[in-house]
């Protein structure tokens, strides 16, 4: 809870400074502080100050996003080939992909990664699997999805999550 509040304050302060751009005008800084405090109070009252509102981002996860960007570029190439060829040969397929993640954040990251990669899109989120629509049948390789799922789960893994929830209760 305290960690989430701290992350929220840091994010909000960065956002305010980024949008206003005045680092040395006291009036604007005071107004900004007031609005950050109001937001903090409201979210405390709504009881949404938890690991989901202010997720923890560890530096290693940047590697995941770099990997994802490469994947997106590769997938884009194959989609663009289909779009621009005169007889676009596509073979739309649907398939079910199992989800291993237990946290909401992990599930969302995995499903969003699938959707971000062009050619595959998460249609329905189930309890234990996702229905995926793919543009080419060769894109529905179970091993690829497993690889992506493992990486996504690793990227959002939060070593302190269990301890924090225990500490709060």
């Amino acid at each position: 809870m305290v960690r989430s509040a701290f992350i929220l304050v840091v994010v909000l302060a960065t956002y305010w400074l980024m949008l206003s751009g005045y680092l040395y005008k006291p009036v604007l800084l005071i107004v900004g502080t007031i609005s950050i405090l109001v937001v903090l109070g409201l979210s405390w009252r709504m009881k949404i100050l938890d690991a989901e509102t202010a997720p923890y981002f560890h530096g290693k996860a940047a590697g995941y996003y770099a990997w994802l960007f490469v994947e997106i570029t590769k997938a884009n190439m194959s989609v663009i080939k289909a779009v621009l060829s005169p007889d676009m040969e596509i073979s739309p397929t649907t398939t079910k992909v199992p989800i291993k993640q237990s946290t909401d954040l992990g599930r969302v990251t995995f499903a969003n990664s699938i959707t971000l990669t062009p050619g595959t899109i998460a249609v329905v989120m189930g309890e234990s699997n996702i229905l995926v629509h793919a543009l080419f049948s060769e894109m529905t390789d179970a091993a690829d999805f497993k690889d992506m799922g493992d990486r996504a789960g690793w990227a959002v893994s939060d070593p302190m999550l269990g301890r924090i929830e225990k500490g709060a209760s």
């Binding site: 949008l19 329905v124 989120m125 189930g126 309890e127 234990s128 699997n129």
Partner: protein, 117 residues
């Protein structure tokens, strides 16, 4: 060099406008209403990009603020429209009740066919 950057940006903005005009075709002809929602969403993304390029062209930062607002509003409007067609009401809160298993589907009250013209 300034002049070259200016023309580069104008060219990019021009192509974005062409893309928007092409999407307008899908929006007008889209056979199902979901095609239209998709077209509007994509159109919004292109408008955000256009506003960014344009505010660099005219050298004013304020355009980028509007682009930020649009990036958010576009998302909210898309979700609102979809919510409208799923529940045929806007005051339904989107909580976990709408998430179900693949086998037992939670079907909204308003079930309507995809065809809309």
């Amino acid at each position: 060099m300034e002049q070259a950057l200016h023309y580069l940006n104008v060219g990019a903005a021009m192509f974005l406008l062409i893309g928007m005009a092409l999407l307008l075709g899908r929006l007008l002809s889209g056979p199902t209403l979901y095609d239209r929602i998709l077209a509007v969403n994509s159109f919004g993304t292109k408008t955000v990009l256009f506003l960014c390029v344009f505010s660099l062209i005219i050298g004013r930062q304020d355009g980028i603020d509007i682009a930020i607002l649009y990036a958010l509003m576009n998302f909210i409007a898309t979700i609102a429209v979809l919510k409208f067609f799923r529940y045929s009401a806007l005051d339904v809160s989107m909580n976990y009740s709408s998430r179900g298993d693949l086998s037992k589907t939670v079907v909204g009250k308003a079930e309507m066919s995809g065809e809309d013209t």
